[in-house]
């Protein structure tokens, strides 16, 4: 009950924010909502299942290029192109899961990093279609769904909010089901969980596919809403971002990924206006976090004030 109120309350606040915020912040928040969807996807694997991937940009990129290439070269409309993006991310996640889940711990981190690097190089290699680093723009005229112009800032904001809300509610529900409880059990003690009769390997596989698909949904939406597809989004920094956002907001909490993405976005936005050394300020904040709030913002809130927090 409380958790439903929390999630619906957050969505209600965001609906209202879309009407009240000035254009600049509305634009920022639209971007944050898409990136927070990416964080939510990352959190399924890292926060709930306890598997640290250093290669999630490949799933974000699979969604982005799946949709982008289908629209740009294939002439697909946004909705089928979005479905293609999701299918690419899900398929890639399934392949990566089959291979990478043979390893654990640091080896898993390295294997995911290598896969993502391969994906990045693949994008550059097929430069004829992907236009490599330079990327390509999705024409404004094609970014329409059922008469709604996704290039209109307000429409774009609400489209991003629909995506974010769906991801939030799906994961929140999932974590109430037994499936979600078993993911947490795998995170807490995999061997114990196996010896209680759970197929932990299958649960990790599904967690990675769900996580990769949500990340791909975010990548596809990013391309569709902001009209640009480029290799940067599959580079290693886009694998590190969701890790930072989730750590900052609170790994293994439902709204932590959003809080972390919001916080980091505005931290960089504010500090880059003040100084060129904004990355140093980001670094300082992360050091403070690891010293004083190891569980992340929502993780600390849960530990100190609200143990019921999902």
């Amino acid at each position: 009950m409380r958790s439903a109120a929390l999630h619906l309350g957050l969505i209600a606040v965001l609906v209202a924010a879309g009407l009240m915020l000035p254009a600049y912040h509305q634009g920022n928040l639209a971007r944050i909502l898409v990136l927070a969807t990416y964080s939510i996807g990352y959190n399924v694997l890292f926060g709930y299942t306890g598997l640290l991937s250093l290669g999630h940009a490949m799933f974000f990129g699979a969604g982005m290029y799946g949709l982008g290439l289908a629209m740009h070269h294939g002439g697909f409309a946004p909705v089928p192109a979005f479905v293609i993006g999701l299918a690419c991310a899900a398929g890639l996640a399934a392949i990566v899961a089959l291979l990478a889940l043979r390893t654990i711990g640091v080896a898993f981190m390295i294997v995911t990093l290598m896969f993502a690097q391969t994906a990045f190089l693949t994008v550059l290699y097929f430069g004829e279609w992907t236009r490599g680093d330079e990327g390509f723009v999705l024409q404004q005229a094609t970014r329409q769904i059922a008469g709604l112009d996704l290039t209109n800032p307000t429409v774009r904001y609400y489209a991003a909010l629909v995506l974010f809300s769906a991801a939030l509610l799906i994961t929140a529900r999932m974590m109430q089901l037994r499936f979600g409880h078993v993911l947490i059990a795998v995170r807490e003690n995999e061997e114990r969980t196996r010896m209680l009769g759970y197929d932990t390997q299958r649960h990790k596989f599904l967690a990675l596919v769900i996580s990769g698909t949500l990340s791909g949904a975010a990548g596809a939406a990013y391309a569709l809403l902001f009209g640009y597809v480029g290799a940067t989004f599959t580079s290693v920094q886009y694998s590190i971002f969701p890790l930072l956002w989730v750590l900052l907001g609170g790994a293994g909490t439902t709204i932590g990924p959003f809080i972390g993405t919001l916080f980091m976005f505005y931290l960089i936005d504010t500090t880059s206006g003040l100084t060129n050394a904004y990355l140093m300020i980001v670094g300082v904040v992360l050091v403070l976090l690891t010293l004083f709030a190891r569980a992340g913002i929502m993780g600390e809130v849960r530990e100190r004030f609200a143990p019921w927090l999902p």
């Binding site: 037994r178 409880h181 078993v182 947490i184 059990a185 807490e188 003690n189 061997e191 114990r192 969980t193 196996r194 010896m195 209680l196 009769g197 759970y198 197929d199 932990t200």
Partner: protein, 233 residues
């Protein structure tokens, strides 16, 4: 009398070391069957192969007449084997209730609380398992095994670290299961073994040294030299 569990030639090699050496073990349905032997005899390794934690180097395992040698661990648990760890493995950062709900593989709060009642921990249902004393964590671990209502319950040194009073409660709990659940019990405390066991198998350096009723074993001189002689050590 049928055997719920049977192993044939079960062997485990670790890089040059034969931890379990061609063990033929039969556990009769309904029995409390104790597995004893000195440290490093291979007891945990043997039951680990029964529960599916590790694959044998050679030999076969039958459960309920079915060859389960190649069955993965989770499928063996679902087939009716419950396993408790020698080194306590509860979910320290989850509540007792959450621990039990996972063990029960359903989310019935009532059944979880009932299972906690059996080991006297119901009042602590909402505490984190990691906040319990060591002895209470052992009891939680036992409760998680018992709660599954398994056909074969494997207990690996369950009384280690329990106080005297807790040990007698443990004995009562296990005796209460007699008849419904077959129990394979690894135990160093000979009082517990003599009080509970219907049958005893003695393992030494990976091989079966003796096998019989508690009276047989007590009378077996070879065993006394190998084990009972320095049991209090």
């Amino acid at each position: 009398m049928t055997d719920v569990l049977r192993t044939e030639g079960l062997t485990k090699d670790f890089a040059g070391l034969r931890a379990v050496d061609r063990v033929d073990l039969s556990v009769a349905t309904g029995d409390i069957h104790a597995l004893i032997g000195p440290n490093g005899a291979g007891k945990s390794t043997l039951v680990g192969m029964v529960a599916g934690r590790s694959q044998p180097s050679a030999g076969r395992v039958w459960f309920d007449g079915r060859d389960i040698t190649t069955l993965p661990a989770h499928a063996r648990i679902r087939a009716g084997i419950a396993y408790t760890f020698q080194i306590t493995a509860v979910y320290a950062r989850l509540s007792l209730l959450a621990n039990l709900e996972l063990a029960l593989r359903d989310r019935s709060r009532t059944r979880a609380v009932q299972a906690l009642e059996r080991v006297g921990l119901a009042a602590r249902a909402d505490q984190l398992a990691g906040d319990l004393s060591y002895g209470h964590q052992r009891l939680l671990e036992i409760a998680m095994g018992v709660a599954q209502a398994p056909r074969l319950l494997i207990l690996d040194e369950p009384t280690q670290g329990l106080a005297e009073s807790e040990i007698s409660e443990f004995n009562t709990l296990i005796r209460g299961l007699a008849g419904q659940t077959t129990i394979l019990l690894i135990e160093h405390n000979m009082n517990v073994v003599m009080e509970l066991a219907d049958r005893i198998t003695v393992l030494e350096t990976g091989s079966v040294l003796a096998n019989g009723s508690p009276a047989d074993i007590q009378a077996n001189l070879a065993v006394q030299e190998a084990y009972l002689g320095h049991a209090d050590g």
